[in-house]
């Protein structure tokens, strides 16, 4: 690991100022960044430590939703009474990720900013990696790509975003509040994960020194049926091959009033499937309906050489998640 300067920020503006130099990185839990520094993938010259900025509260908003400080640990979010009561799918998603030790360290901001687990990206000895070196090629495309994307695979990078939390946030229509050198702004999850141009070396729409201050969730409907289903190679402590966050709201006749379905493990971002949601809306929940929605969700998938199995897997996972969400 190369040496670096470690600076502790006292306020958000402090942090942004410190981070406005080339080679600076925000440092929160460190569970991803420190790991990548050990491997030589990340070589920051300055670590701007944001652990003691006091952004560690979960509060009710005026709109009846909640605001989660970016410094709140994953564990604290998952266990917070407001989250458990109003957004249990978020709690479940977070608790499906990593391990308790890691969740105790990792923050909300860091979870969104974490980088892909593509093994070619994570090992700098692989020279062909468009995310580390734009234009160098993609070793995963014709290599071992079992764990890679099935959506958006026509581009220069086919890696997936590994966050479970983000998938639930996508299904919950979360908004990310950001402060940068040019002032504050807000982004939906979809906007957050969209870099300005199709530059694979950018994971998201964050400019240098942009800082996540909080994540806001809208007011939860009264009866919200949600489920987070994660499928992986062992029972726990593994990233998703495919995951699904399903959130359904039923009207008093038992008809689906609204549906939100987001997939994880299939793209460089949580993958909302509005066409599938449209299939569900206004209909009664039946196995046939869920199958139709699942088929629609995967209709545009374009798998790679080693991950075709993700299509039937994701289709079945969507159906299963919808059943479990309904039964909740």
């Amino acid at each position: 690991m190369r040496t670096f300067d470690h600076r502790r920020a006292g306020t958000v503006d402090d942090a942004i100022g410190l981070a406005s130099v080339p080679g600076a990185r925000y440092f929160a839990g460190g569970t991803n960044l420190l790991d990548l520094m050990k491997s030589g993938v990340e070589n920051p010259t300055v670590l701007v430590d944001v652990n003691r900025l006091g952004l560690d509260a979960v509060v009710r908003t005026a709109a009846g939703g909640i605001a989660i400080g970016s410094g709140v640990t994953n564990s604290a979010v998952a266990n917070h009474p407001l989250v458990r009561t109003d957004y249990p799918v978020l709690s479940q998603a977070i608790l499906s990720g990593a391990t308790t030790q890691i969740r105790n360290m990792a923050t909300v901001g860091g979870n969104l900013m974490q980088r892909t687990r593509c093994p070619y990206f994570m090992d700098p000895r692989f020279e062909r990696c468009n995310k580390r070196y734009p234009g160098s090629g993609c070793a995963a495309r014709d290599g071992f790509n079992r764990e890679h994307a099935v959506f958006g695979t026509g581009g220069p990078c086919v890696a997936v975003h590994p966050s479970d939390m983000a998938v639930a946030l996508a299904a919950l229509d979360a908004v990310v509040h950001i402060k940068g050198p040019h002032g504050p702004r807000a982004a939906t999850i979809s906007q957050f994960f969209s870099p300005p141009a199709a530059d694979p070396d950018r994971d998201n729409g964050m400019a240098a020194a942009d800082f996540i201050t909080s994540v806001e969730l809208p007011a939860a409907a009264d009866t919200v049926h949600g489920w987070y289903l994660k499928v992986r190679d062992r029972r726990s402590y593994a990233f998703a091959l495919v995951s699904v966050a399903a959130v359904l709201r039923f009207d008093s006749d038992g008809v689906v009033a609204s549906a939100a379905v987001a997939l994880g493990g299939v793209a460089d971002r949580p993958w909302r499937v509005p066409a599938a949601e449209a299939v569900l809306t206004g209909r009664r929940p039946t196995p046939q309906l869920f199958r139709s929605a699942a088929d629609t969700a995967l209709a545009d998938a374009a798998p790679l050489s080693h991950n075709g199995f993700k299509l039937p897997l994701a289709r079945n996972a969507v159906m299963r998640a919808l059943v479990l969400a309904t039964g909740r």
Partner: protein
């Protein structure tokens, strides 16, 4: 690819003086800024109870407590936790008196080679505290068993296993580890 440096004079990596209260004793350490808490404990403080199993957050052997929460010391940057309280396995026993978890591990044979054991113990102790304050796990959402709002009153075996899943035991003493934890949990 990283290229080699050609400077003749290379400034030494900066070190920082930090203060940590380890097992109740305040220690001042001059540490390399790159040092993890794990390496600091083992190499600077000669507290070798905490083990390195992978150094990349994949095995849980390095689990300790920082400010009374269980974390991975291999992914904890020491300078980042300046001023914190750190709890390691060496702080469990009271002189010759073993902590009930330690005794339970011995009685239930909750180890074979013993290398993952300090991490299992630090994790288990914290886990029991987490449950006591109502924390959930992914197992709390199992379709048959959903105590999401209040949290499960009693820790089932399934719950213990999920909550301990971040501590790998290659020797495979898992069943005995859970038996030891269950025994202590049941007795409390």
């Amino acid at each position: 690819m990283t290229t080699g440096r050609t400077d003749v004079t290379v400034p030494p990596p900066p070190t920082r003086r930090i203060e940590l209260t380890v097992n109740g004793v305040t220690r001042t350490v001059e540490t390399d800024v790159r040092s993890t808490l794990l390496d600091l404990l083992r190499e600077s403080l000669a507290l070798t109870g905490t083990k390195k199993g992978c150094d990349h957050g994949l095995c849980g052997a390095c689990t300790v407590e920082v400010d009374h929460e269980r974390v991975l010391s291999c992914l904890t940057l020491a300078v980042s936790i300046d001023g914190a309280a750190v709890g390691t396995v060496e702080g469990f026993a009271d002189g010759e008196h073993l902590d009930p978890l330690q005794q339970a591990f011995v009685d239930h044979d909750g180890f074979q080679c013993g290398y993952c054991t300090p991490g299992q113990l630090c994790s288990a102790r914290a886990m029991l505290r987490e449950h006591a304050r109502g924390d959930l796990s992914a197992a709390s959402f199992d379709p048959a068993d959903r105590d999401v709002v209040d949290g499960p009153q009693h820790l089932s075996e399934n719950e213990i296993r999920e909550r301990m899943a971040g501590n790998i035991c290659r020797c495979g003493a898992y069943a005995n580890i859970v038996a030891a934890i269950s025994a202590v949990h049941g007795a409390s």
